[in-house]
Amino acid sequence: MTRALITLATARVSGEVVPARAQMATTLGFHIILASLGIAFPTTVLLAEFIGLRRHNETAMRLARRWSQAMGVLVAVGAVTGTVLSFEMGLLWPGLMRRFGAVLGFPFDVEGLFFFLEAIFTAIYLYGWRRLSGWKHWASGVPIALSGICGAMSVVAVNSWMNQPGGFTERDGRIMSVHVWQVFFNHAALYEMPHMILAAYMVTGFIVAGVYAAGIVRGRRDRYHYTGFSLGFVPAAILTPFQIFVGDTAARAIAHDQPVKFAAMEYVARTSRDVPEWLGGVYLNGQIYGGLKIPYMDSLLVGFSPSTKVVGWDSVPPADRPPAVWLIHLCFDAMVGLGFLLLLGGLWAAFEWWRRRHLPPQRLFWLLGSLSGLVAVVAMECGWVVTEVGRQPWVVYQLQTTAQAATTNGGILASLTVVIVLYAILGVATILILRMLARRWRHGDADQTDVPYGPRPRPPERSVPERTSAEVAS
């Protein structure tokens, strides 16, 4: 009760909490898409280059070269949006940093190390196409892929530590000692790290597949498009069952470690046995509207027996429960549902391949394929909403509330507005530029000049192709 009162009291500390949360969610939700591409896209490009070099496959080689051009744009946007986050850790959550900066700092320091490697070798890889030969160039890309994975582990270490804090001692609000590796490999890290890295690979693979599937749907059924599709789709589809397995493990761990979050995910109002599983359904004022109820299923999933006891949110006072349980639950269901949808897509392709040695000819498959990137992104965003909103009202689980962490400075509403506008422009511009690149590749105009703008030194021999002006204008 006193705890609840304290929480209530501190919730009033600053009116900036809600806009600060909204801003964190916006910037992170944006960054995570580029981060996923930053983690896994280099591997995809390397895969294409590998096939190109090994099998003298011109198509794969061309894809690798073009993709690395897109990678240049994506990495830049990933880097600047990530930098904003680094500032925001302090600018939005100074309370968190003041108290726990020394603890959660170490994984971030390690992350910095990997960002360096990533940035350095990305530069060598992207700008080395002309002068570094074959395998040497390929090898310059390997550190990017590895540091992407290690960098992701480091950031996720921070997030999982916020879910399962430990590895330090505190006296009178001062951190006395820190075991840095216990912080890094905290309890939640064991499932969050693989789950996020697999998500990054799925998101990237399905986005790549989606781009070429969309081309195939529009009738561009050529070797180039099929190769591009397969290079993205095959690895992503293979990883999907593993992702589901890890997610299932995560859910069981959460039922144990963060029971209130789990209760919100699964609509468990009261601690009890024989708990049903709700698929969909909106929880409002103690009522569940709609949705499909599967008796005993939740208990079965948690403890492999219908009589397993599941902790409900009635185990903590109302102030310690997350807001908007319906959001958490629906996002969880969406993630799981979309995960299974992607699994089905993979199975379909595998089946056709097994029977007939080619990809499914059905149009429905390609329509699904062209949406698969979007589907994976939505699944990932939903997963983050579950994690972050499900942890509320805590920013560091059971140690610090979000309200205590938030800045006391005014004006977050203003920065939130600026961020939304700026990121909207950034997002649209990124997509437009990638489309422009693709169009240019299609027309074989991917020639190069090295002047930012301004006339070329020599008037080019070729005249402007008729279509380009119309294309550009469109």
């Binding site: 051009q69 830049a76 946007v77 880097a79 600047v80 949006t81 930098t83 680094s86 500032f87 302090g90 600018l91 100074p94 003041r98 108290r99 900066g101 020394a102 700092g105 170490f106 971030f108 320091d109 992350e111 910095g112 360096f116 490697l117 940035a119 350095i120 070798f121 060598i124 992207l126 700008y127 080395g128 002068r131 570094l132 550190p143 951190i175 000692s177 820190v178 840095v180 006391t408 400075n409 004006g411 530029i433 422009m436 690149l437 240019r440 105009d445 991917a446 020639d447 190069q448 000049t449 090295d450 930012p452 703008y453 301004g454 006339p455 070329r456 030194p457 008037p459 402007v464 550009v472």
Partner: protein, 383 residues
């Protein structure tokens, strides 16, 4: 141990300043390069020398931020609240600069290309300026130990604004000096002359601003001033010597590589002069020192470990990057700007900048110097 980590942090700040600072300075010269026609060749040089390295250089900022909050969390939180607005603006500058730079390479329509280029160039000024004001706010005791909101005066006072201007000028100075080296490597005499004049101008402006800042500190933080002219004096003198040395050697067209190193050294000594003058205080006027505001020992040990790992792993990688870059092995691939160029094709082949124009830089420098003198005299009179 806290002092070691403090030194690591200052090293990181120095590297960010001398590496990424030059990339921001490139934006300044891009901004001042004039129209499409006139600015073509300097812009090209700027673009090619920044492109492969700016992201790696930028990571030093991330490194500095995370070391700061890990090692000195209370001071970090105080700065983040006490100087929030300029920090937001600096972060905004980073987003706009990075995105503008990356986008304009891939855009094909001239108006959009210009818009992206202008975004890149203008925002290149924002970040150093506002970061300078934050440092100025710290130096003038504008950050209390437990602020609840930003005191806008802290970063808009004359010292802080001068610090901001100095940061911009120093970035431009570094960029121009580095670019003379780049022009020499390519044997482009016209651009060499072009950036030599700009380097001279920037050196004069940066020197003037440094002196002005020092004079201003006399009023706004007497302790820091007396230490800068006391125990940090050798560094201050070294900084001045470096500046004069660079000025002399670029004017005499001496070998370029050493000049670049001396220019960087000059900026580094200014930063270390500040560090030495302030030691062991983290935030002047707050009682937060390296010792009493630092993280537990185990964290600091881990930080030193990370730094050693960085030296061992990042050092050789960076060396590889810069070597490849300086050998011209890193070139843009297929960055297609052909179509826009085609449409404005038929234009005269661009000649380099006309010999007369660069003097605008010098003129600007003289005007700035004059303004600084007038300003100082007025300040003196006010007292």
């Amino acid at each position: 141990m806290p002092a070691t980590v403090g030194a690591i942090l200052l090293t990181g700040i120095t590297l960010y300043a001398v590496l990424a600072g030059a990339d921001f300075g490139g934006g300044l010269w891009d901004l001042l390069a004039g129209g499409d026609q006139r600015g073509r060749s300097p812009r090209q040089l700027i673009d090619q020398s920044i492109s492969p390295v700016w992201e790696a250089n930028h990571v030093w900022l991330i490194f500095d931020l995370v070391i700061f909050w890990t090692a000195f969390p209370r001071a970090f939180a105080a700065v983040m609240i006490g100087a929030a607005l300029p920090l937001w603006l600096a972060a905004g500058g980073i987003v706009l600069r990075g995105a503008g730079f990356a986008f304009r390479k891939e855009i094909t329509r001239l108006p959009w290309m210009r818009a992206a280029g202008a975004t890149f160039a203008l925002s290149s000024l924002m970040t150093p300026f506002f970061m300078g004001t934050v440092i100025g706010a710290i130096a003038t005791r504008g950050i209390p130990p437990n602020p609840t909101s930003t005191n806008q005066h802290a970063w808009t006072n004359p010292t802080a604004v001068l610090a901001g201007l100095l940061f911009v000028a120093a970035c431009g100075y570094l960029a121009a000096v580095y670019l003379t080296g780049e022009a020499t490597r390519r044997g482009d005499r016209r651009l060499l002359a072009y950036f030599t004049r700009r380097a001279q101008a920037a050196a004069v402006v940066a020197g003037a601003l440094s002196l002005a800042l020092l004079a201003e500190l006399h009023g706004s933080n007497r302790v820091l001033y007396s230490r800068l002219t006391g125990r940090a004096l050798p560094l201050v003198i070294l900084a001045a010597l470096c500046g004069l040395g660079v000025l002399a050697s670029i004017s005499a067209h001496l070998p370029r590589f050493e000049v670049r190193v001396i220019a960087a050294l000059g900026v580094a000594t200014v930063i270390w002069g500040w560090g030495v003058a302030q030691y062991p205080v983290l935030l002047p006027g707050t009682g937060l020192t390296l010792d009493n505001a630092s993280a537990p020992r185990s964290v600091l040990v881990a930080l030193v470990g990370v730094f050693i790992a960085a030296v061992l792993v990042i050092g050789p990688s960076l060396a590889l990057l810069f070597t490849l870059q300086s050998r011209g092995a890193l070139q843009p691939d297929e960055a297609g700007l052909l179509m826009a160029a085609d449409r404005i094709g038929g234009a005269r082949p661009a000649s380099g900048p006309r010999a007369k124009l660069p003097h605008e830089g010098l003129k600007g420098a003289i005007v700035a110097l004059f303004a600084a003198v007038v300003y100082l005299r007025n300040r003196r009179r006010e007292r």
